[in-house]
Amino acid sequence: MTKVDKSTLEMSDEEFLLIRDLIFEHCGIFMPENVKFLLERRLRPRLDVLSANTFREYYRTVKYARDRSHELDEIVELVTTNETYFFREQHQLAAFTKEIIPSLLAGRSPRDPIRIWSAGCSSGEEPYTLAMLLTELPLPGGMSFEIFGSDISRKVLRLARAGSYRDSSFRDTDPSYVQRFFTRDGRNFQLVDEIRNKVTFGLLNLMDDAALALVANVDVVFCRNVMIYFSKASRARLLTSFYRKMRAGGYLLLGHAESLVNVSTDFEIVALKNDIVYRKPASARGRPYPA
């Protein structure tokens, strides 16, 4: 039997839209049209894996597969590489250490750790930055913190767990942090175990309610530059999830280009000295979850 050569197979606009809708339904990520070329290039080898001769056949195979989420995760892996860097958005981090953490510590029992969730943590720079900052902070005796980083990509989580970074991850990092928390490993910088062990990572699709059930009582959610890839409806759904997972009085920190305008009114805006952030109202305790 002759094998069909797919090296130049083109994806039609229609096929792109259909696959895009499947991905959107799966994880809320909206792929702009300029991703089509990349999707076409990267998915061609997948056609052989799934015994499909055209992108249409591939679409149907994914659509009707029993465990289609597996293949959709693969697609997301193939077309997303959202790198980040340490100490991104310094003013927000200043608000976190100088204002948010002190307010959370007030009257808190040492047996009740501060829980921080880095939602869409990519290769781990964000949660590790928070761990470094909290390590330096003089916390009251016995007080501890838990940092959880989540992402939909297995590949980035593997990078995050390895804790090995290249120069480009340090574009906004004070050299003193590199000196204190990293060791040189050839071309890379290896994060010391003291910080690595303070962060746990998990694979999580933010649109998967069942998987989100594992997260609860969060004091601070960092979700920076993640919602920009989501549609308005997905953003609203995600914010509802955050609201449910957060403690009353907990803080939500978004990227500088993101806001809740026209998406959610459940959070209140708090103008701190270093930044403007969102907070789940303290009065929300016991309040029914928004629809």
Partner: protein
């Protein structure tokens, strides 16, 4: 009746709250007393919800004889812009039925309203609307005349191009008209003689409108002017000329690229100007600059160009630019790889894969075993295209030990090498299998390389204890076709693992004969729907009366993949009763089934095909509507033009609209 300047005059809902007004509009029908008065007041309501509901109500009031008149009246509101806009939208929504009355008042109504009527006719865009607007080209008021030209630019068509071009030639002194006409001509993608365009290019006020038309000219005589514009010192000129030049290159094809390259080199500071344009906010400008840098061919720009492309998502443009620059870029890209982020590294590696040679292999092998799964995967893709036998051992190691997604990349790379060095790859894999190292990946490679002497290995692996190996073996057997004994594949139909059975059913499509037929007829009753679907597909290849009967039963399934496979097979066999089967499938709940059925129907007799496809144009799923419109165009089938225009007026999905427009033009041209 007049509603001008009075939001709610005469409406029973005047004094009520928004909710009441909203409810009042929702209940509007032709039978409602003072229906039009309520409609008009609601179209001008302060609440967008009420206005939106009122626009929906317009559809329900279509039968009201004075509806169009009332809406035209609403266009005259001087102090309620919301009402004016809603009336314009409602008239456009009514479409063709509003055209006679709009055309009748076009020359008599006051100037302000006249402009709105022109805009509405442009939005309606039917043949009669176009005729009416063409008749208004002699309008004495210059603003209304400009609006007429603008509206014609929205509709397009050969007649519009002809009339507008003639107007431009006959009134060259009217610069305002010229600006609107040139803009409209560009929007309708008109092709004008370059000599004529160059004449207008000398007039400073018109130059920016001329560049897009030069880009549409399909004439290499436009190159010089466009290159000059693309490298001009004025940013504004470059922004207009660059996308036009890109368009022209796209339309003329690569034949003229050498000539263009010479022209680019002849200009001073071309490279600097283009590199600067890569930073422009407008992606079209940046993309054109990237393309021209590629044609200019200076390999020193390769890394910079790809960095721009990675950060802006202009991946295709970046790849094309590197393809132009050639293999001289590879060493430079490899040298710059370490300094860029992962996203850009991936694009670098994609480019190296496209233009590289064996010289890049040592560096790619290092990347393939680096800790970064992204770059490792991309490096292996490139190795598949560039590497030779020296990389086989390393890739086999990756395939044994790496994470699943990298294992697959390693297998693809081995496949790729196998295309050029089949003997070496198959030998290495076979040696591993004979040494007891049996991986599913090895079977996939053997299947892909396809050497006859490896058939026995594949047959043996079909009975392996590991089901993943068995799946890979049966899939490899499929690649070998009937060289693997049918008994081996048929035996796999009884496997406990559904994926093995599905692979076996698929592989049986390469075989013929009663034994195979009997096995497949049994497989269509499998408990797993994928096995059934694969068996149905294979039955189409085997054929015969019993296969047809089984397929007609399978086509009645509620499970979409089974019906789709059955329809595909039946379309090969074209048995009696196919039309009846298709009629059922066309009503299936799953749009994918309906789409498949339309594809089969289009190949049958023209009467049934037209009927099915016409119905398909009304389907709730855009994808089905797109298929119906595409098939009508592709098969040159005739359907009523008015129906197509109606579909076009309702259609929101751009892809479907595009096809419907082609269908409309096709039907219009033949009447």
């Amino acid at each position: 009746m007049s509603v001008q300047g009075d939001n709610h005059a005469g409406s029973a809902a005047d004094l009520a709250g928004e909710e009441t007004r909203h409810a009042c509009v929702l209940a509007l029908t032709v039978a409602t007393p003072n229906a039009l008065v309520t409609l008009l007041s609601s179209l001008g309501d302060t609440s967008w919800r009420v206005r939106k509901a009122a626009l929906n109500a317009v559809e329900r009031l279509r039968a009201e004889p004075t509806l169009v008149h009332a809406l035209i009246d609403g266009l005259g509101s001087h102090d309620n812009a919301g009402l004016r806009n809603a009336c314009a939208e409602a008239l456009a929504q009514l479409g063709e039925i509003a055209v006679p009355e709009l055309s009748a008042v076009l020359r008599t109504i006051d100037l302000d309203q006249r402009k709105f009527i022109v805009e509405v006719l442009g939005l309606i865009g039917t043949r009669s609307a176009r005729q009416s607007l063409l008749g208004a080209l002699d309008e004495t008021d210059s603003n209304v005349r400009a609006a007429v030209v603008d509206a014609l630019g929205q509709i397009g068509g050969p007649e519009v191009v002809h009339e507008l071009t003639a107007r431009l030639a006959s009134q060259p002194e009217d610069l305002q008209l010229a600006v609107y006409v040139l803009d409209a001509l560009a929007r309708v993608q008109a092709r004008l003689p370059v000599a004529q365009l160059l004449g207008w290019l000398n007039q400073r006020q018109l130059a920016r409108f001329v560049y897009p038309l030069l880009g549409l000219s399909q004439d290499k005589a436009a190159f010089a002017a466009l290159v000059s514009g693309a490298t001009a010192s004025s940013r504004g000129t470059r922004r207009m000329a660059l996308p036009a030049l890109k368009r022209l290159i796209g339309e003329l094809g690569p034949v003229y690229e050498a000539e263009l390259s010479q022209l680019l080199r002849a200009q001073a500071a071309t490279r600097e100007a283009l590199l600067e344009c890569c930073q422009e906010d407008d992606d079209h400008v940046a993309e054109a600059a990237v393309l021209l840098l590629g044609i200019l061919g200076d390999v020193r720009d390769a890394a910079a160009v790809l960095q721009v492309c990675a950060s802006r998502g202009l991946l295709q443009a970046g790849m094309r630019a590197i393809a132009h620059m050639g293999s001289g870029t590879v060493a430079l890209l490899l040298a710059a790889l370490e300094a860029v982020d992962t996203q850009t590294q991936l694009l670098f590696l994609d480019a190296i894969e496209a233009v590289g040679d064996a010289g890049a292999v040592p560096e790619l092998l290092k990347l393939a075993t680096s800790g970064n799964p992204y770059t490792a995967g991309a490096a292996m893709r490139a190795l598949g295209r560039l590497a030779g036998p020296e990389s086989i051992a390393l890739l086999m190691n990756v395939a044994r030990r790496a994470e699943p997604e990298l294992v697959r990349q390693a297998v693809f790379a081995l496949d790729g090498i196998g295309v050029r060095h089949a003997e070496a790859v198959a030998h290495a894999v076979r040696r591993a299998i004979e040494a007891g190292d049996v991986e599913p990946a090895w079977l996939a490679v053997l299947g892909s390389v396809g050497r006859p002497e490896d058939v026995d290995v594949v047959i043996g692996a079909c009975r392996h204890l590991d089901y993943a190996v068995r799946v890979a073996a049966v899939e490899a057997a499929q690649a070998f076709g009937s060289r693997v004994p049918e008994s081996c594949v048929i035996a796999s139909l009884a496997d406990g693992e559904a994926r093995v059975r599905a692979a076996a059913a698929r592989a049986l499509s390469a075989y013929r004969g009663d034994v195979v037929l009997a096995a497949l007829l049994e497989a269509v009753h499998d408990s797993d729907p994928w096995v059934v679907a694969e068996a149905a597909r294979a039955l189409g290849a085997v054929g015969g009366r019993r296969a047809t009967q089984a397929l007609q039963l399978a086509a009645n399934s509620s499970v979409a993949p089974i019906v789709i496979a059955a329809l595909q097979s039946l379309s090969r066999l074209e048995p009696q009763g196919l039309v009846a089967t298709l009629r059922k499938s066309l009503r299936h709940a799953d749009p994918e089934v309906v789409r498949e059925a339309l594809g089969v129907a289009a190949r049958l007799d023209a009467g049934f095909a037209s009927e099915a496809l016409t119905e398909g144009l009304q389907h709730r799923s855009w994808d089905v509507r797109l298929a119906a419109a595409s098939l009508l165009v592709a098969n040159g089938l005739r359907v009523p033009l008015g129906m197509v225009e109606g579909s076009l007026a309702r259609e929101a999905e751009p892809l479907v609209r595009e096809k419907l427009e082609r269908l409309r033009d096709m039907l219009g041209a033949s009447t």
